[in-house]
Subunit: 172 residues, 2 copies
């Protein structure tokens, strides 16, 4: 669809309000059962970097913030500088771990793709989707949809340790 | 937490695998009941730009891709060029509209914050959080948590038309 046509889609504002200048879609938050398993998946399998961790001992939860550091950027060492830097970064993944859920039997959280539905997935784009999917296979990652499944041969879905769907598309 | 300490968190990979170079956390997908209402909210209230729309007439759904266009960037006019450009962009919001849900009574989708829980929220960071929240009030946006509510005075939560929580934090 052309850009002028996109502007005419019902509901779309004629232009972004000046008051929203500098707004950034910073992060998406998912609850996870087992922080160790999720950090392993998002850092070792998907290559995210852990940028911050915040513990709330009294309320018994911890927050983990992961991101792909943009090429050429350096993660600030200083905590406060890093938090401010991270707040301006698009594409951060926040994982919430409620302490103790890792000891529960079975799945703790709902992936949103069966009733009641809502959230669908996150998506990671990759330079070489064939190589990426072969590597996921080799690493024993669970697939929801392989490249060869169904009619859409240019995308795959893998599952994170909680069963959340991660779409894989090409960015090259 | 210092960067060396973050590297020692259980589960965290020693370094991002070379095979994940060029991976981008591209988007988050949420299902929405009424595309017009959601596009109004995300473009007029939050200032996102509609970058792409894809219609699947046979399967009776449409996809809407929204993003904050980075400063200095220009959205490519050509469809294919724009899609490739968008695939490399972090911080895209994909809204899925299953045709006809807008005619159903009441809420259609689950926000993830009551049982069964899972997805928690998305977050938009803003340069002036006081001004942003005053503007949301003036626009009649529903708040889940105002800046003045609770102990955390530096963040707010508003709700989108489906009730999904949108955290508002400062990036300045």
């Amino acid at each position: 669809m052309t850009i002028p046509a996109l502007r005419d889609v019902p509901g779309v504002a004629a232009q972004a309000p000046a008051e929203t200048t500098g707004f950034v879609f910073n992060h998406t938050m998912l609850r996870v059962k087992d922080a160790t398993a999720s950090l392993d998946f998002y850092t070792r399998v998907l290559g995210y970097q852990l940028i911050d961790k915040r513990d709330f001992a009294e309320a018994q939860f911890s927050l983990y913030f992961l991101a792909y550091v943009p090429a050429g950027a350096t993660v600030p060492e200083d905590d406060n500088t890093r938090r401010l830097w991270m707040a301006g970064l698009p594409g951060v993944l926040e994982l919430t771990h409620n302490h103790g859920t890792e000891n529960q039997d079975g799945a703790v959280y709902h992936d949103g793709n069966s009733d009641p539905r809502g959230f669908g997935h996150i998506c990671v784009s990759v330079p070489d989707i064939e190589a990426a999917c072969q590597r996921f296979e080799a690493l024993g990652v669970t697939f929801q949809k392989r490249l060869t499944d169904g009619r859409m041969k240019n995308l795959a879905f893998i599952k994170d340790p909680d069963g959340y769907w991660v779409e894989i598309i090409s960015n090259a």
